[in-house]
């Protein structure tokens, strides 16, 4: 990689470090650790306030539940950092999960997971080619594939749900390993892969570069097309894996598996502090946000809160978390205005 653009490796120059030391960047802190802190606080409050929350069974079910959206959200984090996003993950999930269940019933577990990941990857490549080769804006391209894939899934499945409850298959979604739910372990593993991809590979640097300023990235020699293609491929692969786990968890899968899944995934990523504008984001935030959403649902369930009220609560949390930054900015501006100018 001798032709790697130099500018990308200069992100932590001496000047930058000095600047960071001089003023605490609250935006950055909130972005990196905000939701993780909120998550810890919520867990403490929940443990004190809700008697059945802090027992091992319940906690492990929360963690398990967080994995299914979480794994897809890891791919989506990469996509949103790159400044695009993918609305087709919901329908890709339904198709992959259905194929996983079907293949598991006939050929075994390993082929099932391979097939699901492969299907996800194909959908991702399709999205990527539409965006890169045909130059359709990502929003519309993935909106189109969303309709396309969900229609195809209905046609393939004939509207029927596939079922399979082989022990070795459902273990992946329901089992535990050393007391920790298997899907959550896989989720953590995926997150680790995501972190490595983002922060330790040229591809990761390209993703940040494309997301922060695509023109500058282009001028600096970042292969935009290949990067965007790989971004969509990443989303697809992670979604496929998550879908196989969900199929295994539910013993079944069919069309219309989880309506609104794509928006849940995007909400998770955004709640985790990744900017929709691209160029900034954190994997830790995504993990914390996925667990936070699962925790909220769990707490509300434990307190017998109506499922309809839960929706309102989830929406409010999203808006609240996302408006923190705006409110802080406004307060800051007002405070600055009152202060006499320093120079």
């Amino acid at each position: 990689m001798s032709d790697r653009p130099q500018i990308l490796s200069m992100s932590s120059s001496q000047h930058e470090k000095d600047r960071r030391r001089a003023a605490i960047d609250w935006d950055l802190l909130w972005e990196k650790f905000g939701i993780a802190t909120v998550l810890i606080l919520v867990w403490i409050v929940a443990a004190l306030g809700t008697p059945r929350f802090a027992n091992l069974d319940n906690l492990s079910s929360v963690l398990r539940q967080s994995a299914f959206v979480g794994i897809s959200a890891i791919g989506m984090t990469v996509a949103i950092i790159a400044g695009t996003f993918d609305l087709s993950v919901g329908s890709a999930q339904a198709l992959s999960a259905w194929i996983a269940v079907l293949v598991a019933a006939h050929y075994g577990v390993v082929p099932a997971f391979i097939a699901a990941v492969l299907v996800g990857g194909i959908v991702g490549l399709l999205n990527g080619s539409l965006v890169v080769l045909l130059r359709i804006p990502a929003f519309i391209a993935t909106l189109g594939t969303m309709f396309l894939i969900s229609g195809l899934t209905f046609i393939f499945t004939n509207g029927q749900t596939a079922r399979f409850n082989g022990k070795d298959f459902v273990w992946w979604g329901n089992g535990q390993l050393g007391g920790i739910p298997v899907p959550f372990l896989i989720f953590l593993l995926c997150a680790l892969v995501g972190v490595v991809i983002l922060h330790r590979t040229p591809f990761g640097r390209y993703v940040f570069a494309v997301g922060s300023n695509i023109r500058a990235a282009h001028v600096a020699g970042v292969p935009i097309g290949r990067t965007v293609l790989c971004v969509f491929l990443t989303v697809g692969l992670f979604t496929g894996l998550g879908a196989a786990l969900l199929g295994s968890r539910l013993y079944s899968a069919g069309p219309g598996l989880e309506p609104g899944f794509e928006l849940n995934v995007i909400a998770t990523v955004v709640l985790g502090g990744t900017r929709l504008a691209g160029g900034r984001g954190s994997m830790l935030g995504t993990i914390a946000a996925a667990i936070l959403f699962a925790t909220l649902a769990n707490i509300l369930n434990l307190n017998h809160v109506d499922a309809f009220v839960q929706r309102v609560a989830v929406g409010l949390v999203l808006l609240l978390a996302l408006s923190v930054e705006g409110i802080r900015q406004r307060l800051f501006e007002r405070w600055n205005r009152r202060k006499p100018p320093t120079n």
Partner: protein
Amino acid sequence: MESRGGRFIWFRPSPVAVTLLVVGAVFAVLTPAFLTLNNLLNVCTSASVVAIVGLGMTLAIASGNFDLSVGSTAAFAGCIAMSVVPQIGVLPAIALGIATGALVGWVNGLIVTELRVPAFIATLGMLTIVRGAALIYTRGRDIYLFGKTDYKILSSGVTPALLALAIALFFGFLLKHTRFGRHILATGSNLASARRVGVRTTYVLWSVFAIVGATAALSGLILSAQVLTGNGRLATGLELSAIAVVVLGGTPLTGGQASIPGTLFGSLLVAVINNGLNLLNVSIFYQNVTLGLLLLGALSLTSGWTSKFGRIASKGSVADVAKGGDGAKSA
């Protein structure tokens, strides 16, 4: 004030209109049932529901924003209006429903301008909240309206089509001939410079979101009047169909431009295709496939075509496309 970046197109021989004619002709040849008055009326009615909310969405997209909450707003307003018809009568109920929608829209606008949440996320949050509110309000059950056939006037005959047409003309007039319309386009082209030259972007965005909410509510009212049943799950997924129709009509997601007739033709095209496939006994599962293919086909044609020239003009055109639709402008 002339807004340079923003422009509004009354009419041009758009690909979607041509496609509509071709597809209509094909179905007319294939099935005799297509070109009957009754069937065309059906097509118009189902097109109008999406068209009305799509027209509102066109304004939102022209102003550089999205509204993902329209489906939930439609359900909420539809349920509220339907539930109060017995008490306060038909017309006040309709007014109340539309006012509810406008209020929800205004809240969207408040969240975007005051709390500085990007429109995509703000309305995503409102999607869940308002849907929850609709379900809470109806307790997850259906609301029936027995014997109140007056309410059906909203969805019977040519009313929906006329409403859609009237709204289209009104929005077209707004964009073409009024200061408010120019301000919408200016805000969508470049929020910061619009503010610099004195456009009160905050009020513009509030009004736009309120208008979108009102149109969504009207669609919801028509939908619920069709079956005289209100349901909290009404119009699920309407937001994405509405955006699809707007995009199909040629309004770019980047803001600052709007094609009102395009949105009308787009919704008609989708309705014609769905109707034709139904008449040909094609499984309903294929409707989503065709909508997806239509979107991708239309966009690959138009954006492929323009970028051929764009590439010569600026080397970063791949860049533009990849960034194109991420709603980042609203941040």
